[in-house]
Subunit: 341 residues, 2 copies
Amino acid sequence: MTLDERKKKILESVIKDYVETAEPVGSRAIVKKHNLRISAATVRNEMADLEDMGYLQQPHTSAGRIPSESGFRYYVDCMMERENLVDDEVQLLQKIIKENLQDWDEVIQSIGNFLAQVTRYTSFVIVPTVRVDEFKYVQLVRMGKGKAMVILVTDTGVLMHRRISIPESVEQKDLQSINEVFNRIFAGKKFAEVRKTDLQYLRDELHKSKRIIDTILEAIDRLAESAGEDKVVISGILNMLNEPEFKNLDKLKKILAILEEETLLKNLLPEPSCDEVEITIGRENRLDEAKEMSIVLAGYKIFGEVGRVGVIGPVRMEYWKAAGTVDSVRTAIDEVLKKHF
Amino acid sequence: MTLDERKKKILESVIKDYVETAEPVGSRAIVKKHNLRISAATVRNEMADLEDMGYLQQPHTSAGRIPSESGFRYYVDCMMERENLVDDEVQLLQKIIKENLQDWDEVIQSIGNFLAQVTRYTSFVIVPTVRVDEFKYVQLVRMGKGKAMVILVTDTGVLMHRRISIPESVEQKDLQSINEVFNRIFAGKKFAEVRKTDLQYLRDELHKSKRIIDTILEAIDRLAESAGEDKVVISGILNMLNEPEFKNLDKLKKILAILEEETLLKNLLPEPSCDEVEITIGRENRLDEAKEMSIVLAGYKIFGEVGRVGVIGPVRMEYWKAAGTVDSVRTAIDEVLKKHF
DNA sequence: TGTTAGCACTCTTCCCAGTTGAGTGCTAAT
DNA sequence: ATTAGCACTCAACTGGGAAGAGTGCTAACA
């Protein structure tokens, strides 16, 4: 269904005004503010049409109109122009990323903060745990009597560690020799292969008790498994409170529940594509708890997995700004990844 | 100032009822509920006395009484009996800790969750970064052309890493030899000493370019410095929303602002003692934003530093339960630390 | 035929006054 | 010292206008 220019103009006006004020928009207000060359009565007729089409709705007879979710959807799909970051913002983003480059966690955190700050919504960045696929390096470090640490580095540069108990008699140099053998045998192998490797051979070569080798292998195994948890960073929860729709505590609770429970959030988010910004409006969301909020989401590639970044806010959202910002941020993340990994 | 038994009983009744209902407590209600053998009129007289002493206050003339902050303070200091964890809860706590033992971060997170769940307030656990003092082990791992990772292990078992750039010609075996020299020279030394060590000697021994050694040393330096950030884990923010005092969005904002900004929270918390539970009530708090909330806090020792654990909630708090729980949790943390480090 | 002015109508919001009810403080009796 | 009784206070609720924003409809107009 396509709208004529005037209807579009009116729909846009209603959306812009409503997003700004959170109040129903009247015909007079539209004519005045956007100084259209038509009368309020004409606007009223057009608005009645738009209401019939489902793009606008009236909270009650004597109120102005507000955009329906389909209205927002139409606007987003057919009319919206993304509002990209202004120069200052781009520079700020670059600066933030540069300052934290040495630590990936910091980069993520600061990008999240940036996104929340610029959009004034709540931002999230989800970093998939890069599948622990290939063994790069293992290091055993003795940490005092009877304790040691297994440090594992994967080819993707992920660092993992786990404490283990070892017989008290074992010294660092014993560990070092086990270490060397492990690295020789396993370097570059897939983890799956490590698990299948013939351990007898290993034990023979090391002349060590089954016990300690098993402990180490178990630790490695666990580390490889445990890598399943994605990292979720959320910023700007406070911004939610500024939205009048969340004056209602029940709504607020639902949202905070989602934000507090990482799995809920991950379930809620749609699969992102890696070159389009995905917008989900109100009832389009899977979760009942999220039927009153919208999500603007982009995906980014990281070591073959897909990461997600975006903002979450009320249906009455500045989609144009949010989409532009999320897109810019995604690009920035892509660049960091490309340059540094 | 000490109160006679009857006044104490009445103060306690007001506190218990008020904490439960969040409503002012009337004289009749007290007599009924706690079936005292005195009349409502007597209670009224006593309550008037308690008000003169500053322990109770009236929202308005025709309302019941609510405890003032001094009232809570008196109760906490002179009358309160801590309500410790019941068996089920203790077992749950033990189980939670055991399940996550291999990963200190997980332990902290789950202890925080437990604390929030049991008290129904918002919990925090602050883990001071153990001062990076002594060098335990360093490992250089080549991560593809021109890139490497410096992995540092301190004697306290903290693992840190940082990416560096290296000349493309450098291979893993070159790194390995640098590695060995570094470990030989530095093992067991304080970081401060590492910085002062005569580098010329190092370069001579390694026959390597100044460049790569400097890069590595710089990385180590940065790691040693950067360790200054405490880890803060907050759970159960959602619980705040159930407290009627935070229906008021402005109050809620103030609190969330504190909880969202780690430095704010750290400034707010008083220095904990390591064997007493510290209770801060309302206006006793340093920060203006926190004048309407109370904090129950305990300290624990970790590698010579002091960590903090506790809950934060409305002034109308179940101090007895909170103090008991926080204390138990502190003990549990102490035990984990003692047993495993 | 599309547009517009005019007007009656609707519905929320705000304000005001009156009512209710919980709870007090005081007084006088026990 | 304690208590019953009672007048008093004040928040919270209730209902009835009045105000105001905005609509839909009709009739006139270009």
